[in-house]
Structures are given as C-alpha cells and as structure tokens.
C-alpha cells in the first residue's frame, strides 16, 4: 500500500502540494486527475523518492520513503515500475536494451531475462521492434516500450504519468486497453496520473481529484461519474467555469528532475 500523509511541496514560492493525503490500495488502479500543472506528476515522483516532501510523509509498504537509506530506496524502486510521460527511453539504446536496463540488475539468469524481454514486448505488441532505436518509433510505440520496460521487472506497483497525453484518440484507446490488460494479467496495483477523463473512467477502480494541492474528492469510477461536486463536474465536463485556474495558468515552477549530486532523492 502507498500512502500520502499531509504532503506539502513548494517550488520557489509556488505551493504545489498542500496537505495532499491519499491511500493507494493494493491490487487496484487508482487514477489521480487534475488540471495541467496541478501537481499530479509531482505527487507521483514522491512515491519513488525522486522528490521529497517539505512536510508530511509518503509511505510505501509501511516505510517512510524519506527515511529510507540508499540501499532500501533502491530496493523499493526495483519493486516499482515507472512509466514516464515522455517515455524517457534511453535514446542511445535499442528497444531490447532499454528493457534489459531494468532486468540486468536483478541477478536473473540469461534465459529468464530473455523470457522477460520477449514477454514484456509481447504484452505491448511490439515484439518485432526489439532491435529498433527509440527514434525510429512513433510516440505511441515509445510509450508502449516505456510500459514494457516497467512491467518487465514484474513490479508490485506500476506508476503511469500521463500515459495518453499527446496521443491520438485511437492510440489513446489502445493504451487504455493495455493498462487494463496489464492490471488483469499481473494483478499489480497501479497509479495513473492523467487529465484525460476517458482514460480515468476506462482504467480506474478509484478516481481521486487533485485540486489546489490537495485531494478534493475520491470515489469509484461510477461514483465519480455521478458526483455533484461543482469543481469535479466542471472538470469532467471540460468547463472552465467552476474551476479556479488562476493558480495554474500562471504557474512558473518546473518539476526538477533529480539524479544529480544533491538531488533530493538521496
């Protein structure tokens, strides 16, 4: 189980998360929706320790991520698959080598690794593209390779950051089916961050709406469809009236990528 407990996060003077509290139960798909710039991706990065909260806790399987040592953090990350909004494929490696990156550190034997690569590419229906470079693939195919890389390690949780953003409706539908199929096949708990209500309704067991730094509403997909909350309704129906967008339209902060010395992850 993943828990956000009163998480607060600021970038410069801009408060992004302000008392963000949410439980992500095992075995279910939780969708976090919200307007662009609302802090959905920021919340997701807290789960794997790419960002650390200014206040509050992010707890994964009973352990506070911020209090994990480096080894424990690495172990926790190896149990989570992360699908990036931009796919974030290593562009100097082939599709197969991208998938191998996660598997090579598992201490698996060669046959198992090959099986996993083949299986994950079959799951995303890209078996024929194993030797392709990421630049040779369309945006939708790159996102599917990103999913294959994430599921190849058989994670306990999969985090999807805007999986359908930038895709045409048909390809977005294929992605939604794929996310649902992975959930059925693997039984893995998933967190999907999106502003696409079609994705939210088609893959979500639970939908949580992030608004002004905190969770406004959590409900089942059916319950969410029938909500009378004016802000949630405005978002579902795509109406600007009812949503206070002033905070989002002027936001200047940028989610800092970590990975550098002094990155907040370590």
């Amino acid at each position: 189980m993943i828990q956000f407990c009163d998480v607060r996060k600021k970038f410069d003077d801009q408060t992004v998360l302000d008392g963000f509290t949410l439980d992500i139960p095992d075995g279910k798909t939780t969708v976090i929706i919200g307007a662009s710039g609302a802090g959905k991706s920021v919340a997701l990065k807290h789960i794997v320790g790419l960002l650390t909260p200014d206040f509050g806790q992010v707890i994964v399987d009973g352990r506070d991520v911020d209090e994990m040592g480096r080894a424990e953090l690495m172990d926790m990350r190896s149990r989570i698959g992360y699908v990036f909004q931009s796919a974030a494929l290593f562009d100097s490696l082939t599709v197969e080598e991208n998938i191998l990156m996660g598997l090579n550190r598992r201490g698996l034997d060669r046959a198992t690794i090959e099986d996993r690569v083949g299986w994950s590419l079959d799951m995303v229906e890209l078996g024929v593209s194993a030797d392709s470079m990421p630049s040779e693939l369309s945006g939708g195919m790159q996102k599917r390779v990103g999913i294959a890389r994430a599921i190849a390690v058989h994670p306990e949780y999969i985090l999807y950051d805007e999986p359908t953003t930038g895709l045409d409706p048909v390809t977005a539908g294929v992605m939604n089916d794929l996310i649902a199929h992975i959930r059925e096949e693997m039984g893995t708990a998933s967190v999907v961050v999106t502003h696409d209500m079609r994705t939210a309704f088609s893959v979500g067991d639970r939908i949580a709406m992030l608004h002004q730094g905190r969770i406004l509403l959590v409900d089942t997909a059916d319950g969410f469809r029938q909500t009378t909350d004016p802000i949630a309704r405005a978002f579902i129906e795509g109406r600007a009236s009812g949503l206070d967008l002033s905070n989002l339209m002027t936001q200047q902060w940028q989610v800092p990528s970590t990975g550098a010395p002094g990155g907040s992850a370590t």
């Binding site: 690495m74 992360y82 974030a88 562009d91 940028q254 990528s257 970590t258 990975g259 550098a260």
Partner: protein, 253 residues
C-alpha cells in the same frame, strides 16, 4: 556584527555540508564498480580514440609554427639547433597538453554536457533512478575515468606528432639539418618534460569530463537549458585547464 558572524558561520556550515554530501555521493558511486566498469571502454573510445584526429591536427600546425617562430627568434643570435630544443620543450611541457586540452574541452566537454543535459531534460536521468541505477555511477564515473586515462594517451600522440611536424618544417622550410634539430632536442631533454605534460593532461581530463558531467546534470528546461549548460561546461573546462596548468607549474617545476 553578531548577525553577520552567525550568517557567515551558517554559510560555511552549509558549504561544508554540501561538500561532504558531494564526497559521500562520489565515494558511493566509485564503489559501484559493477555499474561503471563495463562502460569505461566505450567511453575511452568515444572520448579518447575519437579525439585523436583533432589533437593531431592541432599538433601538426603547432609544430610547424613553433619551428618557424623559433628560427625567426634564434637564427643569427644563437646556434640553429636551438630550434629543436624550443620545439621539443615547448610542445612536451606546455603547448601539447594545453592546446590538446583546450580542443578537448570543446569536443569532449561539450559532447558530455549536451548528452547528459538532454538525458536530464527528457527524464532519462530520472528513468535511470527509477530503474535503481545511480546516475553518478552510470553516467559520471565512466566518463571521468575514461577522460583521466585517455587524455594522456591523446596528448602523448599530439606531443610526438607536434615534434615530428616541427622537425619536418625545420628541415624543409629552414636552413637546418636533421642532426642539428635532434642535437637541440636531445640537449635540453629531460624525462620530466614528458611526465610533467602527461600528469597535466590527466588532470585536464578529469576536470573537463567532470565539468561536462556536472553541468549536464544541472540542465533544466529544454534546448535552451541544454545549450546553456553546454556552453558553461566548455568555459569551465577551459578555465580549469588554465588553473591546473599554473598549479602544476608551481608544484612540479
């Protein structure tokens, strides 16, 4: 007064803390040998072997110019074999390492900063982290190790080629014979000339690759951010070359 003292000590403590954290990160990354060791050979080829043509090109013209310049200065004033002495000493101790270093600050430093910067802004560095890799072990250490090992190799080739081109220029363009040239070359040669140049070039390799990596990891935004850190990496690398050049001159001469 008390406030400024408190502020200074707090700033100092912050700095010490940051340096300590950086050292801890570096030690941890170096200890992760199984991640970085397999990548070193590839980086040695990219950063070192592929830089040999530009280093030789620079050395070719440096040798020619030095021979002509020293002839202009010396002939009539001192014996002509001093041309060989000046070409050899200058190329081995100073111009070989420094000019090669400057060229590689552009080629290697910019290459590293742009590559890692692009990885940073396209979330590839974050992806490494989520796949349980330490970006320092995977991206920084192999490049710094390769640069430190290969810069002396490239520089030694440049030194040899520079002296060779100076000799060819001296016997073809000046009124100098080969025995005269090599007499001057041998007369003032000390083994220190070579190892002094190679130690300097190894330190240039470390500084240039480290500057490129750290600048790349600081990239934010998009193309503009990558361009900015690339430029800073080249400038920083060039500055480090000059600082280290003076440092080694003070320490070793």
């Amino acid at each position: 007064m008390d406030h400024s003292l408190a502020g200074s000590s707090s700033g100092l403590l912050d700095w010490v803390e940051r340096v300590g954290l950086g050292v801890r990160h570096a030690v941890r990354a170096l200890a992760d040998v199984q991640t970085w060791a397999p990548l070193v050979m590839g980086q040695m080829r990219r950063l070192g072997v592929d830089s040999i043509p530009i280093a030789l090109f620079i050395a070719l013209f440096t040798g020619i110019v030095l021979a002509l310049l020293s002839a202009t200065l010396f002939i009539g004033a001192v014996p002509p074999y001093f041309v060989g002495a000046l070409v050899g000493k200058t190329i081995m101790m100073e111009l070989g390492p420094v000019l090669t270093g400057m060229a590689l600050a552009g080629r290697v430093g910019a290459n590293i900063a742009a590559e890692i910067g692009t990885m940073k802004v396209t979330e590839q560095v974050d992806a490494l982290e989520t796949l349980a890799y330490d970006p320092l072990s995977f991206l920084v250490v192999p490049r710094v190790v390769a640069g430190t090992l290969m810069f002396p190799v490239v520089t030694s080739l440049a030194m040899g080629f520079g002296v060779f081109s100076g000799w060819i220029a001296a016997i073809n363009l000046l009124d100098l014979t080969s025995p005269e040239f090599f007499k001057g070359l041998r007369m003032f040669y000390e083994p220190r000339d070579i190892w002094f140049g190679l130690i300097k070039s190894a330190s240039f390799g470390t500084a240039i690759t480290l500057s490129g990596c750290l600048m790349g990891l600081k990239a934010t935004g998009g193309a503009e951010g990558v361009g900015g850190v690339t430029m800073k990496a080249v400038v920083l690398g060039a500055m480090w070359i000059l600082v280290l050049d003076a440092f080694w001159a003070l320490v070793l001469l």
